[in-house]
C-alpha cells in the first residue's frame, strides 16, 4: 500500500502532507506529555519493530501469504498517538532508505497507514473490547477486527487518493498525468486485495499477538485498557486456553462477508452509485435505483451537478462509455472476491471436518481454533 513517487499529483501530495501535519503535531505533543523522556527510546525501538513486522509473510487460508502493517497491535499496545509516531518513523525509513514508498508521497502514506490506520484500530478495539477483562477472548476479537478495519480504512483512503487523480490531472490530450485509473477501477482493485489478503494478514497478527500477550505479558495491554485490573493466575491460565482459538467464528464471519458482499452487489443490479444520466431518465432503471435506495425515488431531473460532470467526462470522447470500462473490470474483481471468500470458508470447513474425523466428535470440539 506504499504509494510511490509519481502516482499522486503535487497538489494531492501537498494536501496530504498538510493533512498529516496536524496529526503529527498533536501526536508528538500528546506522546511527550504521556511518556516524557521515555518517548525517544520507546518510539524508536517500536518503530524498528513495526518495520520488521511489515516484512513478515503471514500465511492466509488458501495457501498464499501477505504482509501485515502492524498498525493494529501498535495502536493497541502503545495507544493511537504513539502508534502514529512509530509507524510514521518506520514509513520514513522505508521510503528514504529502502525505497519502499515515495518521498513526495510520504505524507500521503503516513496519513493513510499511520494516522487513519492507528485511529481506526484504536477506536474499533476500544469500542468492541469495552470493559472486558484483559485476558478475555473478546479483546482478541476486538484486536483482530480493529486491525482488519484499520488496514482496509487505510487502503480505502489510498484508493480514493489514487482514483481521483485521472479525474483532475490530465494532459491537454487527455492522458492521465499521474495515477491512471479512475475511482471505479482503483477502489475495487485495491480494496479487493486488502479486504482479502492483506486484511487477513493484519487480522491474524493483531489478534494473534494480543492472544499471545494475554498469556505471556498482559501488562503490555494495560495502556489501552484503562481501569481494568490485571488478571490473577487463574484468569491467565484461562486465557491460555481460549484466546485466539475462541475466535474461530471470526474467520467464518470474514469468509461470509467476502462471499455475500459481491453477491449482494451483483444482485442489486447496477452497482450503487455507478449510474449514468440515462439511468435517471429511463423508468425501468429508476425503479431499480429506488429499490436499492430504500425506496426513495431518484430525483425527476438529472442532478445538474452530475449532468455537468458527466459532460466534462464524456465530451472529449463521444464513443467512450464509462460502463464499458467499469462493468467488466468490476465484475471480474467481484468474482475474485467471491472466490477468495469461498476458499476461506472451504478451508475452515475442511479443517474442521479433518479434525472431527481424526479425533472423533469430542475431539473436534476440544481442538480450538480454525484452519
Amino acid at each position: 500500500m506504499h504509494i510511490p513517487d509519481g502516482y499522486l499529483s503535487p497538489a494531492t501530495c501537498a494536501a496530504l502532507y498538510g493533512s498529516a501535519a496536524p496529526f503529527w503535531y498533536v501526536a508528538l505533543r500528546r506522546t511527550r506529555k504521556l511518556l516524557f523522556t521515555r518517548l525517544v527510546p520507546l518510539i524508536s525501538v517500536f518503530a524498528a519493530f513495526s518495520f520488521v513486522i511489515m516484512m513478515f509473510n503471514i500465511p492466509i487460508p488458501g495457501g498464499t501469504t501477505a504482509h501485515p502493517l502492524g498498525v493494529g497491535i501498535a495502536s493497541i499496545v502503545l495507544g493511537p498517538w504513539a502508534s502514529i509516531l512509530a509507524l510514521s518513523t518506520a514509513l520514513f525509513i522505508q521510503a528514504f532508505f529502502f525505497g519502499d514508498g515515495g518521498i513526495t508521497t510520504l505524507g500521503a502514506n503516513c496519513f493513510n497507514m499511520a494516522i487513519v490506520g492507528s485511529l481506526i484500530a484504536y477506536l474499533v478495539y476500544r469500542i468492541i473490547a469495552g470493559r472486558s477483562a484483559i485476558t478475555s477472548s473478546r479483546r482478541v476479537v476486538a484486536a483482530a477486527l480493529g486491525g482488519y478495519l484499520a488496514i482496509n480504512g487505510a487502503a480505502l483512503c489510498a484508493s480514493i487518493e489514487l482514483g481521483l487523480q485521472p479525474h483532475f490531472f490530465r494532459t491537454a490530450a487527455g492522458a492521465p498525468l499521474y495515477a491512471p485509473y479512475p475511482l471505479g477501477i482503483a477502489v475495487p482493485a485495491i480494496m479487493i486485495g486488502h479486504l482479502t489478503f492483506a486484511g487477513l494478514a493484519e487480522l491474524v497478527v493483531s489478534g494473534g499477538v494480543v492472544a499471545y500477550l494475554q498469556r505471556a505479558n498482559p501488562s503490555l495491554l494495560r495502556f489501552t485498557a484503562p481501569g481494568i485490573p490485571l488478571p490473577q493466575e487463574e484468569a491467565q491460565r484461562a486465557a491460555r486456553e481460549s484466546g485466539w482459538g475462541a475466535a474461530r467464528p471470526l474467520w467464518v464471519a470474514v469468509g461470509l462477508l467476502l462471499v455475500l458482499t459481491p453477491l449482494g452487489l451483483l444482485a442489486a443490479g447496477k452497482a450503487w452509485g455507478e449510474w449514468t444520466i440515462h439511468d435517471f431518465t429511463s423508468p425501468a432503471a429508476r425503479q431499480q435505483i429506488a429499490k436499492v435506495s430504500r425506496n426513495v425515488a431518484p430525483p425527476a431531473a438529472t442532478p445538474r451537478g452530475l449532468q455537468r460532470l458527466s459532460t466534462i467526462w464524456t465530451a472529449p470522447f463521444p464513443d467512450y462509455s464509462p460502463s464499458f470500462v467499469r462493468k467488466p473490470a468490476f465484475g471480474y474483481i467481484l468474482s475474485a472476491m467471491f472466490g477468495t471468500g469461498i476458499i476461506v470458508l472451504l478451508s475452515i470447513l475442511s479443517a474442521w471436518l479433518a479434525a472431527k474425523l481424526r479425533h472423533g466428535p469430542a475431539g473436534a470440539d476440544a481442538r480450538t481454533g480454525e484452519t
Binding site: P4, D5, G6, Y7, C13, L28, F36, T37, R38, L39, V40, P41, L42, I43, S44, V45, F46, A47, A48, F49, F51, V52, I53, M55, F56, N57, P59, T65, L85, T89, F92, I93, F96, F97, F98, G99, G102, I103, T104, P166, T171, A173, G174, A175, P176, L177, P180, V204, G208, V209, A211, Y212, A216, N217, L220, W244, V325, S347, A351, E370
Partner: protein, 278 residues
C-alpha cells in the same frame, strides 16, 4: 531437514527470513558506497539533501516527458561520477521499479479512454495513445524519483542524512528518534532472523496453515516483548549519561566552495525543470 515448503514454493519462514537478509545487505552496501570517493560523497550532506529533493520534486510533478527524462539523465550522470555501480542500480532500483510500477501501469494502455492506436490481434483489446502516455509517465516518474533517492542514500552515511534534515526544520527530537530507530532496526532484524532460523532448524515436515499462523503471531509477540525490554534498558542507559529529555545533535558539516557551486547547480537544474515541465 525438511522445512515448511508448500510443494516446492518457499515457505513463509524462508521468505520472511530472506527479506531480513536482503535489508541487511542493502544497508551494508549503502554504508560501503558512502565511503567511496566520488562526486556526491564529497558533498556536504545538507546540500545533497536539499539538492536531490529539488530534483525529485519536478520529476514527480512535471508535465513533459523530455523534462523528466532529462532529470533521469542527470541522475545517471551523478551516479557515474559517484562510483555507484550501474549493476546495483539496475538490480535494486530500475528493475524493481519496473516490476512494481510496470505491472501497475500495464493495464493503463488498454483501459484509458482515448485515441485508439493499436488493436491486439486475438483479444480485441484496444491500445490508446493516452493510455500509453499515461503508463509512460508513471514508469518514468517512478524510475527517476527512485534513482535520485537511492543516490542520496548510497552516497551519504545515513545518520548524516538524518542530521541534514535539521536544515529543513525537522525537530531535533524526531531526528534523534529516526537515528535510534535505524540503529535498533538491525538489532531487531537480527533478533527476528535468529528466532526464525532456530525455528526452521527445529521443524520437521510441513506445518499446517493454522500452525504457521500461530508461529507467525507468536514470533511477533516475542519480538514485541523484547522490543519493550530493550527500550526500557535503553532508557536507563540514556538516563545514566545525563539524558533529561533534551536532545542535542552535533554534526561535522562544513560547507565549502565546492558545496556552494553544486548547490547552485542543483538549483539551476531544478528551476529549469520546473519551468520547462509546467
Amino acid at each position: 531437514m525438511a522445512t515448511g515448503n508448500h510443494g516446492g514454493k518457499r515457505g513463509f519462514l524462508e521468505r520472511t527470513t530472506a527479506s531480513f537478509v536482503d535489508a541487511l545487505e542493502h544497508a551494508f552496501y549503502a554504508e560501503q558506497t558512502a565511503r567511496a570517493d566520488g562526486l556526491l560523497q564529497r558533498l556536504d550532506a545538507r546540500v545533497k539533501l536539499v539538492g536531490i529533493l529539488a530534483l525529485i520534486l519536478p520529476a514527480a510533478a512535471g508535465r513533459r516527458f523530455a523534462v523528466i527524462g532529462g532529470l533521469f539523465a542527470v541522475a545517471v550522470v551523478l551516479a557515474a561520477l559517484s562510483h555507484v555501480s550501474f549493476s546495483v542500480l539496475l538490480k535494486r532500483v530500475w528493475i524493481a521499479v519496473l516490476l512494481f510500477t510496470g505491472v501497475i501501469a500495464l493495464p493503463a494502455p488498454f483501459v484509458t479512454p482515448g485515441q485508439v492506436v493499436y488493436h491486439l490481434p486475438w483479444l480485441g483489446w484496444t491500445v490508446t495513445s493516452q493510455g500509453l502516455t499515461s503508463a509512460g509517465y508513471l514508469v518514468l516518474r517512478a524510475e527517476t524519483a527512485a534513482t535520485l533517492c537511492v543516490l542520496l542514500v548510497l552516497t551519504t552515511p545515513w545518520n548524516h542524512v538524518l542530521k541534514a534534515l535539521r536544515v529543513l526544520r525537522v525537530p531535533a527530537v524526531l531526528v534523534t528518534i529516526l537515528g535510534m530507530t535505524y540503529r535498533y532496526l538491525f538489532l531487531v532484524l537480527q533478533s527476528a532472523h535468529d528466532m526464525f532460523e532456530s525455528r526452521r532448524s527445529r521443524m520437521v515436515g510441513e506445518l499446517t496453515g493454522r500452525e504457521r499462523r500461530r508461529v507467525a503471531a507468536a514470533s511477533a509477540g516475542v519480538l514485541m516483548s523484547k522490543t519493550f525490554d530493550i527500550s526500557s534498558e535503553v532508557y536507563l542507559a540514556m538516563q545514566s549519561r545525563g539524558y533529561r529529555g533534551d536532545v542535542s545533535i552535533l554534526d561535522e558539516f562544513q560547507v565549502r566552495r565546492f558545496d556552494w557551486i553544486m548547490l547552485a547547480g542543483f538549483s539551476l537544474i531544478s528551476a529549469a525543470a520546473f519551468w520547462l515541465g509546467r
